[in-house]
């Protein structure tokens, strides 16, 4: 393949992937009243306006809460699971792996509908509770995968050494295994955080009066008000995600784990 053809293909791919991002940033910079591209004039007013919207503030807080605590509880469940799967030959290991991966294989809409139909409606789960469970479940596959990868690089004789020095099995895990996979655990946290924060289909089914995650709130806002503030908010969120990943790569070598 010629050099120019290669450049063309790479160029087109990048435009296709990153182009929308620039369009959104630009659309948010509009001075006009409607969401449009190219923007009508230039101004930062919609970027400021985002912070004035009460529902954005509330849904941002909820999304943050879900992303942080949903991911933490996914790690609490996922790290031991990853440990067991990588250290022991378990009787139903393949089945467990499939179940653990299920939330990313099953379409989000089905997960959302399932939780709504079988937890919220018959069992009177609050919407926030269901959202929390859903976000935890969605992050578990990532937590298990990333942590498994870093456990596989850790030789198991280190734990045996700790045990022979007097540790219990659990003690060896806490004192020797955890400190040596903390990079992987942090990487799993970041990946989980971003996944949870950007989650739409499941949350769509599990939103109720006054309980909306940020992406769902943005959709709802756009149905009523078609102004550039949604574009401005999207741009801010995208920049936040890029920033997190950038820092993670710089300090953790994030791409080693994912």
């Amino acid at each position: 393949m010629g050099k120019w053809t290669t450049f063309l293909i790479i160029g087109l791919t990048l435009t296709f992937l990153i182009g929308p991002f620039f369009i959104i940033i630009a659309a948010g910079l509009s001075a006009g009243e409607n969401l449009a591209f190219p923007p009508e004039g230039l101004s930062l007013k919609w970027y400021w306006a985002v912070f004035e919207v009460e529902s954005f503030r509330e849904s941002f807080a909820l999304s943050m809460f879900l992303a942080v605590f949903g991911t933490l509880s996914a790690l609490v469940l996922g790290v031991p699971a990853a440990y067991a799967l990588s250290r022991y030959r378990l009787p139903f290991a393949e089945t467990v792996k499939t179940i653990v991966a299920a939330p990313i294989i099953v379409p989000g809409i089905i997960v959302g509908l399932g939780l709504l139909r079988y937890l919220v409606i018959p069992l009177n789960f609050t919407v926030s509770m269901a959202l929390f469970m859903a976000h935890t479940a969605l992050v578990i596959p990532y937590a298990v995968r990333v942590v498994t990868a870093s456990l596989e690089n850790l030789r198991s004789d280190m734990e045996e050494a700790a045990i022979l020095l007097g540790c219990t099995r659990f003690g060896a895990f806490v004192k020797v295994v955890l400190p040596n996979i903390r990079g992987g655990v942090l990487a799993a946290f970041i990946l989980g955080f971003v996944t949870s924060f950007n989650q739409v289909p499941v949350s769509l089914f599990l939103s109720g009066p006054g309980v909306r995650t940020l992406p769902i709130d943005m959709l709802a806002y756009m149905e009523i008000t078609y102004d550039p503030s949604v574009a401005a908010l999207s741009a801010l969120l995208a920049i936040m995600s890029v920033g997190i990943i950038f820092l993670a790569e710089k300090f953790l070598g994030f791409s080693r784990y994912v």
């Binding site: 030789r155 004789d157 280190m158 045996e160 050494a161 700790a162 045990i163 022979l164 020095l165 007097g166 540790c167 219990t168 003690g171 004192k175 020797v176 400190p179 040596n180």
Partner: protein, 339 residues
């Protein structure tokens, strides 16, 4: 055997359905350095893991210092283990690696400092207390791994091929270092290796294992000079082993060479006692290599493959040369049974 300190009784060890060691009994005296020697898969590492408590026996028992420890978990057995890979804790400094076991025992900080420094000095790592294991050389990591176990004053110290990751020169240094440590501390050591030179050089007693059983055990000189089986002879460097039946040597090709008076069984010759240049047998030099003090030959002959050597002072026989050789009976080592 008098007052055994570690005693294994009819130990059978298995991984799932695979039996690795069967009905092994062994008594180790206090302060003795035992090597478990054998090819990979002979059960030597498995036996060591059982003594450490990392593997529970299918049947049989393990006693240490008069107490049955068969059911005592690994973390309460008071046994130290140096792993082949050293298994150091990469997130902790040299000092903290050694302090690890003491901290678990709730020893006071002052006492920890004293004991860790003392034990790092013993292995000459005192200057490197603040380094991480990854910043140490292979030999230093090895010594750190030793210090980490020794600081707890274990009743028995187990070493799993601890020298196999070191280069040849360092291996010799560490060998004498280990001997020094063992003599000074009087600690009972079980050393696992597949290297017969290492086993013979270090041990008070060598336990040669094969297929999960003890093939022969004895002092290094006993094993080296008087291997009792074909396998043991082969492992101890008797590279030319032939069956003897009814006064004749049996070649690999089935030929019978009469004139051997040994009782039925086998005769084994080290390469050095095969005489080249004259004799009743004929062969072709298939390979010759320089080994410092001598030339080493591989000779193909109707009898089978023969390995021999001549002093390095003489010019070598070239590859492809035909030559006569002899397997003199008076230098052959007699073994009961055929390979």
């Amino acid at each position: 055997m008098s007052e055994s300190f570690v005693s294994l009784k009819n130990l059978t060890l298995a991984y799932g359905d695979t039996v690795a060691v069967s009905q092994l009994s062994l008594n180790i005296r206090k302060g003795e350095l035992i090597t478990l020697l054998g090819p990979s898969g002979c059960g030597k590492t498995t036996t060591m893991r059982a003594i450490a408590g990392l593997l529970s026996p299918r049947s049989g028992s393990i006693e240490i210092d008069g107490t049955d420890v068969t059911k005592v978990p690994a973390n309460k057995r008071g046994v130290g283990l140096v792993f082949q890979s050293y298994a150091l804790f990469p997130h902790l400094s040299t000092f903290e690696n050694v302090a690890f076991g003491l901290r678990l025992r709730k020893v006071s900080n002052g006492e920890i400092k004293k004991r860790v420094e003392q034990s790092l000095d013993t292995v000459e790592l005192g200057e490197l207390a603040n380094r991480k294991p990854s910043e140490l050389s292979g030999g230093q990591q090895q010594r750190l791994s030793l210090a980490r176990s020794l600081v707890l004053e274990p009743k028995v110290m187990l070493l799993d091929e601890p020298l196999s990751n070191l280069d040849a020169r360092l291996r010799l240094d560490m060998r004498s270092e280990l001997q020094r440590l063992q003599r000074n501390s009087g600690i009972t050591m079980v050393f696992v290796t597949h290297d017969q030179g290492e086993a013979l050089a270090l041990a008070d007693r060598v336990v040669l294992m094969k297929d999960g059983l003890i093939e022969q055990m004895g002092t290094p000189t006993e094993l080296y000079n008087h291997p009792s089986t074909v396998f043991a002879a082969d492992f101890m460097g008797f590279e030319n082993i032939f069956e003897v039946r009814e006064g004749a040597l049996i070649g690999r090709d089935g030929s019978k060479i009469s004139g051997y008076n040994a009782p039925s069984g086998s005769l084994a010759w080290r390469p050095g006692v095969v005489s080249l240049g004259s004799g009743p047998f004929h062969g072709t030099v298939a390979g010759v290599s320089f080994a410092g003090e001598m030339w080493e030959y591989v000779i193909t002959s109707p009898l089978g493959r023969i390995t021999a050597s001549t002093p390095a002072g003489n010019p070598p026989y070239p590859i492809g040369a035909t030559l006569a050789f002899d397997l003199p009976e008076q230098f052959g080592h007699q073994i009961k049974g055929a390979g």
